[in-house]
Symmetry: C2
Subunit: 222 residues, 2 copies
DNA sequence: CCCATAATTCAACAAGCGTTGAAAAAGGAC
DNA sequence: GTCCTTTTTCAACGCTTGTTGAATTATGGG
């Protein structure tokens, strides 16, 4: 019984970015498995087939989403990894973690993609994502290598694994802590996430630093 | 063109456990999203509808799978958390981590469930799983609390978060390290996972221990 | 030997998905 | 005013999924 909607151009044309925004909203609300083209179209207030006017197919749409969201993250991390940036390794790694927070916290669906979850109609997205995220991974590893050279990190640590620990735990915190926060501690999700990140970085840094007892002045405000 | 198979009972009747084993095999090979009833039936060499003779529906089948796999894990962890077990906190936490390894390493699909991934026809499974895994979580937390009381862990640490760090990173290692192992290090997956676990526990323990420099004799064989 | 029951397959259903081709309407060009 | 292009919706297709009811056959009891 859906009353038919008039065809033809609307007063305000549909911008592809509006569709991407709708997709992100559905991602955040219903996760990756809820992000069907019909759901995205409903969120954007249009017909599913309109998506095919603006994008080649679902995969291309998701690709455009990656194109929109990943380069800023990579840019931030590259700047951080620049050897000319004089900050210490602890502060750089903390900032790298917060970078991931900034770029991933608003979309569980995005994190599910990062995790490699497969979606019908967008099967090659996990591979694409891994490829495009590699520069981000390399930037983190570069920071860690520099920390090893400068003697700020314990010798013998595998930079790849250290980077994996730092970043994947950040993603886990963003996924899990908001769910349990209110039940366990009565804290607001954002506060609980911030507290968990501080605890995690504290544990992480003591675990990898060559001199873990030296104070971390950049963390004092917390 | 599929030549019809004879109906009626076979020489060897189908055991529900055989179906569960087939489901686990599909989980390990194709992950959670590949585990359709048709795929499981194909693996077990029977018709999908036979599953409905032995289980009420897909959800009940997955439930039975949890019933089969979770209690042994919980039992192991409860024994470990028993205050009468005199081992130190470091060894207990290492053993707890290895418990999760033992019970989860063979099934990426199972880990995806633990992660809360949703599956059509088994929508309530993540909630069930979380509920049934809670005793495991509590056991780990109990170990950590004891460690805090005995002064083996740094005071002020949140036991819930510390447990989360230890266990979720183990799951991440099982998910990610095998994929990258051969490309990055040329190591066999099992060896790479073992090495990553050692590195992780080393970092973790230095991060949470009150006296991280004391040697860990139980780790010396590695 | 007959019959009830247990175990199995088959064919079909409805729902959801990504996708496509055609129809409709608005806006600008001439 | 007419026509062409752009933007939009609609209806349908083919596929996969969980699920069901009927048909079929082997087995064991009386």
């Amino acid at each position: 019984m859906p009353t038919p909607r008039p065809r033809g151009p609307k007063a305000v044309k549909m911008d592809p970015r509006t569709l991407l925004d709708a997709a992100l909203k559905v991602f955040a609300r219903d996760g990756l498995e809820g992000a069907s083209l019909r759901a995205i179209a409903r969120e954007a207030g249009c017909d599913p087939s309109l998506i095919y006017y603006h994008f080649e197919n679902k995969e291309a749409m998701f690709s455009a989403l990656l194109e929109e969201r990943i380069p800023p993250l990579v840019k931030d991390l590259r700047r951080l990894a620049d050897p000319l940036d004089p900050r210490g390794t602890a502060e750089k790694l903390w900032t790298a973690m917060r970078c991931f927070h900034r770029h991933l916290h608003d979309s569980a669906g995005f994190r599910a993609m990062v995790r490699g979850q497969i979606v019908r109609g967008a099967e090659t997205i996990p591979e694409q994502l891994a490829r495009r995220l590699r520069p981000a991974q390399f930037a983190v590893i570069a920071i860690i290598r520099r920390g090893l050279r400068r003697g700020e990190l314990r010798p013998g640590l595998n930079p790849y694994l250290v980077g994996l620990f730092l970043i994947r735990m950040e993603a886990e915190i963003l996924d899990l802590v908001p769910v349990f926060a209110e039940r366990l501690s009565g804290l607001k999700p954002t506060v609980a996430v911030a507290a968990a990140e501080c605890t995690w970085f504290d544990v992480f840094w003591r675990g990898v630093a060559a001199h873990p007892m030296e104070p971390l002045p950049f963390l004092e405000s917390l």
